[in-house]
């Protein structure tokens, strides 16, 4: 289904499928369908609006939306206009958005926020920012530098959709921000060709066809969720977006009512379903064809519980990273054998793996494929540090190959915390906490989640300044004003000095004023 044509991209395939099969559902919002014809018409009008409003090919446009048809329409509109989508978490504090805006300088953005003031404050971090859209604003306003549009009104005001000059495969499609070992999140640049390879690999893995309905149960602003939009719309399938993501019992019945056939989820969400909604899970998803589980290792106990709840469903664990997307997959076939979460399986057919600096069969895992990113946005040094001369990405994982060819992981070479699939940099948290006026020194450690849901969580070890009082609540509140909720440490422990035994490496303490 990756039809020919000069520009063989997800967006061009989507436009082609919409001409061929206009009446097929492309999106189901709960159970309300939006056809391919309607989606292409609306998103093309919005592309036209972006171009009329002064967005040029290659310009960055931030996408700060919750899961909804608006997300899909805006995403397609950005790509259709030849611009670059920068998806961001709408729940993140202004300071976190501002850091990204300073880095990639968007000219426009789609906001979830019903508060234009907050949006303009974020926009002011980017010097060329001029257009803000939201479905939730009262109307259209204009300041000296920024115009704010109500998205629906703007779409309606476009004369005719017409044909778009769709972007070439090698052009930049997406920048996805991810935490690395350093403090500042880095922008992973993905081309339209990358996105097509990611969809092709997903289609092969899940044996996806036009009758499939993919349930979007993770945030679409993550590449892990976003790529399911691409996967559905380049296959002629539908993406099902539940209206009640936060209420799993309701979400599960929506997925059932929409006849969902496949889902990609994450261990932390599945742990909640198993724990609290076991009965609803097996009642609503008994006909599910596949359940892919990625972004973090799933404990074998959880896999066994899923196998028990969904005996007819193909369970697949996947391994990847934002910089190279899909790397390995593993079919969970035998419920009786406790699966070792370190077994990440075999590579996708389009992926080649090697072990760098290999000693006794163990080395750092390197990945090559058409899914490997172009590089980090405006960060040549970081790009050179991770992409090898033969265009492979160095992962942070060490591993070895088992005799059957499957990859086994043995540990990370960095301190990044995998908090429910979100990669959290201890350095970033340390830098934020160190800015608190009462904090003399801080180090952030990885500890097992006491609730057993997120896998790992962050703990802050803090030294107070001489003679001041400072509570853990105050430290956490300070962190929450600058960091996304999942990056805020689970707990704070106060010490007189940071013991060298926990430092491990010199970077482990953000000492103030030094």
């Amino acid at each position: 289904m990756t039809g020919g044509g000069a520009a063989d991209t997800v967006i061009s395939t989507f436009h082609q499928l919409a001409r061929q099969f206009p009446d097929r559902p492309a999106v189901l919002w709960g159970t309300t369908p939006i056809s391919y014809a309607s989606l292409v018409e609306t998103s093309t009008r919005l592309s036209r609006a972006l171009l009329e409003d002064g967005v040029h090919a290659g310009d960055r446009v931030a996408l700060i939306l919750d899961n909804s048809p608006d997300f899909v329409i805006s995403y397609l509109a950005i790509l259709g206009a030849g611009a670059v989508a920068v998806p961001l978490n709408p729940r993140a504090p202004v300071a976190a958005h501002a850091r990204v805006f300073e880095d990639c300088r968007p000219v426009a953005a789609f906001f979830q926020s019903s508060d234009p003031e907050a949006a303009l404050s974020i926009g002011s971090s980017a010097p060329d920012f001029k257009i803000a859209y939201s479905a939730n604003w009262p109307g259209t306003t204009r300041t000296a530098t920024v115009t704010t549009w109500r998205t629906g009104e703007r779409i309606a005001s476009v004369g005719a959709a017409g044909d778009l000059d769709l972007p070439a495969a090698e052009s930049l499609a997406l920048i996805v921000y991810t935490s690395g070992t350093t403090g500042n999140p880095k922008g992973v640049m993905l081309s339209h060709a990358n996105m097509r390879h990611i969809s092709d690999a997903g289609r092969e893995l899940c044996q996806l066809g036009p009758t499939d309905r993919i349930g979007a149960v993770v945030p679409l602003f993550h590449l892990y969720g976003l790529r399911d939009i691409d996967l559905a719309l380049s296959t002629g399938a539908a993406i099902v977006i539940p209206r009640h993501m936060n209420f799993p019992a309701r979400m599960l019945s929506e997925l059932r009512d929409a006849n969902v056939t496949g889902i990609s989820s994450v261990p932390s969400s599945l742990a909640i379903l198993i724990e609290r909604y076991h009965r609803e899970l097996s009642e609503c998803l008994s006909d599910l064809r596949y359940l892919a589980i990625g972004t973090a290792p799933m404990p074998s106990r959880g896999l066994a519980a899923l196998r028990d709840a969904l005996p007819r469903t193909r369970l697949i664990t996947t391994y990847g990273l934002t910089e190279a997307s899909r790397v390995c997959w593993h079919d969970v076939t035998d419920p009786m054998t406790p699966a070792d979460p370190r077994i990440v399986g075999r590579p996708y057919s389009a992926v080649r793996l090697s072990l760098v600096d290999e000693v006794a069969g163990i080395g750092r895992v390197a990945v090559g494929s058409g899914m490997v990113m172009l590089g980090y946005w405006a960060n040549e040094a970081a790009t050179r540090a991770i992409i090898t001369a033969d265009a492979m990405v160095l992962t942070p994982d060490c591993g070895r190959f088992a005799p059957d060819g499957t990859l086994h992981l043995l540990g990370r070479i960095d301190d990044v915390i995998n908090c429910g699939g979100e990669k959290v940099s201890p350095v970033e948290i340390e830098e934020v906490i160190a800015r608190h006026p009462m904090v003399a020194a801080v180090t952030v450690l990885r500890i097992p989640d006491p609730d057993g849901v997120l896998g790992e969580v962050a703990q802050a070890i803090v030294v107070r300044k001489e003679g001041v009082s400072l509570s853990s609540q105050e430290v956490l509140q300070h962190a929450a004003t600058m960091l996304e909720p999942y990056k805020v440490p689970r707990s704070v422990e106060f010490v007189r000095e940071i013991p060298l035994s926990v430092l491990g490496k010199p970077r482990r303490a953000a000492m103030k004023g030094s």
Binding site: P93, H244, A249, Q473, A479, A480, P485
Partner: protein
């Protein structure tokens, strides 16, 4: 236990949760938690666990729906209903 007491207790608890998420100010009884960012899908379960423990009730997954846990007012109503008329757990 009367309505005011329950609402007061829930407000105190949620204010502390909200503060830990960098949100301050009064809690609007009718605004959805997820709109204001006081709770997310994970902290919702912590909140449900708090309600279970504090009011000594078991809450099934089926009951964790927007009508019962969408806003301060809906939770207050739900807890009051459960305390007045204990529901048989299946």
């Amino acid at each position: 236990m009367d309505r005011n007491t329950i609402e007061q207790e829930l407000t105190t608890h949620l204010s502390a949760v909200a503060a830990g998420r960098g949100k301050s100010g009064p809690i609007d009884a009718d605004r959805p938690f997820f709109e204001t960012g006081i709770l997310d899908s994970l902290s919702l379960l912590d909140f449900v666990a708090f309600v279970e423990k504090r009011y000594e009730i078991d809450i099934s997954g089926r009951d964790i729906v927007p009508e019962n846990f969408g806003s301060l007012r809906s939770v207050t109503d739900y807890v009051l209903g459960r305390l007045q008329r204990p529901v048989q757990q299946p």
